[in-house]
């Protein structure tokens, strides 16, 4: 991941709609309202999830 990028910008680069996903950064939830404020740093571990069919 390149430095200086916000999480929102990263989602945009990946082609993901921020309204449809949830993001966890280094095991902490990144609240939707702060996706544009949180910068992506070298070594960050992300989980990006959404709802899929399930029981």
């Amino acid at each position: 991941m390149t430095g200086g990028l916000s999480v929102a910008a990263m989602l945009g680069e990946l082609g993901l709609d921020p309204r449809k996903v949830a993001v966890e950064r280094n095991l902490e939830i990144v609240p939707r309202g702060t996706l544009g404020d949180v910068a992506v740093a070298e070594g960050d571990a992300f989980e990006i999830v959404h709802f899929v069919g399930g029981g």
Partner: protein, 263 residues
């Protein structure tokens, strides 16, 4: 639980949300999202369970469940299927809450892959933590009246005992314990897992359950949309029969026609 004046006024309430349909359906195992949506429509369900999974960043444009089943019309109930520890389940639901924006969730913490039987120690632990964090967990559990009570005391907003193992379609294996759970519960009780066909769903409702949750019984039917209709009718029939109050069983016959005036 009071008998309603008419079927149209027969609703149930979980964590302050009131629903008319007593059938909750899963959204897994369907051949296509179109078939899934058609089955949900036919089932009349107002709540669907959904899973939380990683997005496929190599193909972000692939169709999404939310494009076919509108979360504004149907309540999405995020589920922790596939979680084997309290920590994994809690982490999954924190993400689900962020993705969806609501606190009503389904908790299931499984003990082993072979039976998918719930791990009640981890389930109870997760329930306590989730409630502290403001979640409203509907909790999948064993058909054990004591465990059910403990979950309720921990803050579960609904108790969801298995009828039989997940995906087995074996039907309700222990009617006695399901009934004991219903009688002891102060929150809604829904049979979750094990339903195979319409009569199983009707039986759950006849035992006094507030609802039934199923996935495989519909998704793996030869005609899922038709089975969804069958399940809708079965849940309604079972509910009506429960409210009507069934006749007492007798060990011997009792004629339906009068004996007086017999030629």
């Amino acid at each position: 639980m009071n008998a309603p004046q008419s079927m149209s006024s027969d609703s149930w309430t979980v964590a302050g949300r009131t629903f008319t349909s007593r059938l909750i359906v899963g959204t897994g195992k369907y051949k296509s999202l179109e078939e899934n949506a058609a089955a949900v429509e036919a089932s009349g369900a107002e709540i669907v369970t959904v899973a939380v999974r990683r997005v496929n960043i190599s193909d972000p444009s692939q169709p999404m469940l939310t494009d076919f089943i509108d979360p504004k019309k149907i309540t999405y109930l995020p589920n922790t299927a596939g979680c084997f520890t309290a920590d994994d389940a809690i982490r999954t639901l924190r993400l689900a809450r962020e993705a969806g924006g609501w606190n009503l969730v389904k908790l299931e913490v499984l003990g082993e892959a072979k039976t998918l039987y719930p791990d009640m120690r981890e389930t109870l632990k997760a329930t306590e933590i989730l409630v502290k964090e403001g979640f409203e967990p509907m909790v999948y559990c064993v058909d054990d009246p004591i465990a059910a009570k403990q979950l309720e005391e921990a803050g579960a907003v609904a108790i969801m005992p298995l009828g039989a193992p997940i995906g087995s379609g074996l039907g309700i294996q222990n009617r006695v314990t399901i009934r004991l759970i219903v009688e002891g519960a102060g929150v809604p009780v829904l049979v979750d897992a094990g339903v195979g066909t319409a009569s199983d769903a009707a039986q759950a409702m006849e035992l006094g359950c507030d609802g039934v949750l199923m996935n495989t019984a519909i998704a793996e039917a030869k005609d899922p949309v038709l089975m969804a209709r069958a399940m809708k009718a079965a849940v309604e029939s079972g509910r009506l029969a429960y409210l009507a109050g069934r006749m007492q069983k007798r060990r011997y016959a009792d004629p339906s026609s009068p004996l007086a005036g017999l030629i």
